[in-house]
């Protein structure tokens, strides 16, 4: 087995009296898709925001490519190849696809001004690679469908050569056809050796694309298991009861 892309060891996060993430450890390998599951408030979004550089962790260590890292802002996480696609997609509605794709990392001319024509060109190129039917990239995001917005968010991750991709509810706002496009894309990214964390409530999607699951409850990890070793009912039991299923899944952690 190759070396892990990401190791999170003993991560803690408090918000006042709330222990949102309590001694959580997990890792992610190249070409692996790991689902992070749990009820609302289980701590999964907080965990993922720590890895994305949005929240600093109060305790524990994050290693990327075996090296310990400390993130002060999302830019620090982006610099080591971590890209995040948020549930609400985190796009500015009033700006076009190129503007959103390059937000915070604009291409500039040698005068230091925005190179809007080159950004439009690059954005159009990468968006068409993902979704050839999507040509209206100059419109503000407000005018786009859920699938098109998702395409813009994914294009942002791809353009900046993500090695580690975090997807928060990637299929939540999508119709069946668009969900399939996103799933196909996840599988092709996986083949390229990118490691992916997915937060999802859609059990079917999780079983279709994930290799491994991390189930959380009340800020703690209930268990980590290979998808191949469990049924949907086992996983639901872990989410709801906060207990590991019958012994047959016991030996399945990596």
């Amino acid at each position: 087995m190759s070396a892990p892309l990401v190791e999170m060891i003993g991560i803690h996060k408090h918000f006042g009296a709330l222990h949102a993430v309590d001694d959580v450890s997990c890792e992610l390998y190249p070409g692996e898709v790991v689902g992070v599951l749990g009820h609302n408030g289980a701590g999964k979004t907080t965990l993922i925001k720590i890895l994305a550089g949005v929240h600093p962790n109060d305790g524990g260590t994050i290693k990327v490519h075996g090296r310990p890292v400390k993130f002060g802002s999302p830019r620090d996480a982006q610099r080591v190849g971590i890209e995040t696609i948020y549930q609400h997609l985190a796009l500015a509605d009033n700006i076009d696809a190129a503007g959103n794709l390059f937000l915070g990392r604009e291409l500039r001319t040698r005068w230091g001004t925005l190179d809007i024509h080159r950004m439009a060109h690059e954005a159009g190129k990468i968006i068409r690679r993902i979704n050839p039917n999507f040509t209206q990239t100059h419109l503000p995001v407000r005018a786009m469908s859920g699938g098109q917005r998702q395409t813009v968010a994914i294009a942002r991750a791809l353009y900046f050569n993500a090695k580690i991709l975090i997807m928060d509810e990637p299929t939540a706002a999508l119709g069946p056809g668009e969900t399939q496009i996103v799933k196909d894309l996840i599988m092709s990214l996986k083949r390229e050796g990118i490691g992916i964390f997915i937060i999802s409530h859609e059990m079917r999607d999780v079983f279709d694309v994930c290799d491994r699951l991390v189930v959380m409850k009340n800020g703690k990890v209930v268990g980590t298991t290979k998808v191949a070793d469990v049924t949907e009912d086992d996983v639901l039991g872990m989410i709801i009861l906060g207990k590991r299923p019958a012994p047959r899944a016991e030996a399945s952690t990596r």
Binding site: G53, A92, D93, N94, R105, E106, T113, L114, H121, R142
Partner: protein
């Protein structure tokens, strides 16, 4: 909006029997509008970023009194240094106030409405104390030219030169956009569209300059009442500079891009790693600088610094920005739109003065126009959101 402005001009010209569209009235209108338009341009950035600034009228009074105070009390007898340094001091005060307000808003989380409402009280009080309630006058003669008074214009030759520069820029801009697009796309915009853009832009500039130079300069008239024209007023020149710089910031720099992104979705801007707090401080610093410039024009025009100047300036700036298409929901607005909004307000005002409408009904009518603009904003947003 430009069409609305033209319609207003035509109607006012008919109602005043041709008194509205005269070089004399249009020159005065251009001077009257420039202060409000400068402030409205800055207010576009403030409102686009989902903030508000109610303090600018009081800030104009404070920086204006400070500038006049410094000129009269500290630099008396130094003709050049006096107006240059006093302006620098006024602008520095504007920057400091902008940092102060921006810090409370961005780093301490107090709503902009509260902080700038406090500023509304504080700075006019400070202006009164600094001037001891007195009017500070007279001011330096060179300084007075900045107000657009009797010697406050560029003259004929410089005005045409500026017009020629403007025409060149319009043509270059259209050509350059075409060239840049051509690098990446197979289907450039139709050539006739670019030609129309250049022709309209050049025509507007040339007509404007022609009108400004045909208003005769009263100081240089011969016995028949003929003489060289005034040309473009210096306050208008300052407005043009502000529009150019702010439009450039809005469209071609990271700062402008982030202001719009933050207004469209503050969380998205934060998650993209943008320092949104510093961004808000920068916006209020910019508004402070523009208030300082507005104070210079106002005091130069009055030839005095007084704590009563700039009253209601914040509300007219907001009104002009909104009439010009800036949405109070944030994320949407344009600098040229704000100039058109300001022109609509001051055109109505000046036209009604000629028609001998009292100040009370004038306020009512401008208020109604503001409601119409707000209604248009809502109707437009309904049509464009799903």
């Amino acid at each position: 909006m430009v069409l609305v402005l033209i319609a207003i001009w035509v109607v006012l010209d008919v109602l005043t029997h041709g008194l509205f569209l005269t070089p004399r009235n249009l020159y005065n209108l251009s001077i009257q509008t420039s202060v409000g338009a400068i402030l409205a341009c800055g207010m576009v950035f403030v409102i686009v970023a989902r903030q508000i600034d109610l303090s600018i009228g009081s800030l104009i009074a404070f920086t204006g009194v400070l500038t006049a105070f410094a000129q009269v009390n500290w630099f008396e007898g130094h003709p050049t240094a006096s107006w240059v340094l006093s302006i620098a001091i006024g602008l520095a005060a504007g920057i400091a106030v902008g940092m102060f307000q921006g810090w409370w808003i961005a780093y301490r989380g107090i709503p902009a409405l509260v902080v700038t409402l406090a500023g509304f009280l504080i700075y006019r009080g400070a202006a009164f104390m600094l001037a001891d309630g007195q009017t500070i006058a007279p001011l330096d003669e060179t300084y007075q030219r900045l107000g657009g008074g009797s010697a406050g214009s560029l003259g004929v030759a410089a005005s045409w030169l500026l017009g020629a520069l403007g025409c060149t820029w319009v043509a270059w801009n259209v050509w350059n956009t075409r060239r840049e697009r051509g690098k990446y796309t197979e289907t450039p915009l139709p050539a006739w569209l670019d030609v129309v853009k250049v022709v309209l832009g050049v025509a507007a500039i040339l007509v404007f300059v022609a009108v400004m130079v045909s208003y005769p300069d009263r100081r240089q008239l011969d016995e028949n009442g003929n003489g060289p024209g005034m040309g473009i007023g210096i306050p208008v020149l300052l407005l043009i500079l502000v529009v150019v710089v702010l439009s450039f910031l809005a469209h071609r720099t990271r700062f402008g891009r982030y202001v719009f992104a933050f207004g469209g979705n503050p969380e998205a801007a934060l998650l993209a790693g943008i320092n949104t707090r510093l961004l808000v401080v920068k916006i209020f610093v910019m508004m402070g600088i523009l208030s300082g410039i507005a104070a210079v024009i106002t005091t130069a025009r009055l030839n005095a610094g007084a704590n009563s100047i700039g009253q209601l300036a914040e509300l007219y700036a907001i009104a002009a920005a909104v009439i010009g298409g800036t949405s109070l929901a944030g994320g949407v607005g344009s600098v040229p739109g704000a100039v058109v909004g300001a022109l609509i307000i001051w055109s109505l005002d000046s036209g009604m003065v000629i028609l001998d409408v009292g100040s009370a009904p004038r306020q009512i009518i401008i208020g109604l126009v503001l409601i119409a603009a707000g209604w248009f904003d809502i109707a437009y947003n309904k049509r464009h959101s799903r």
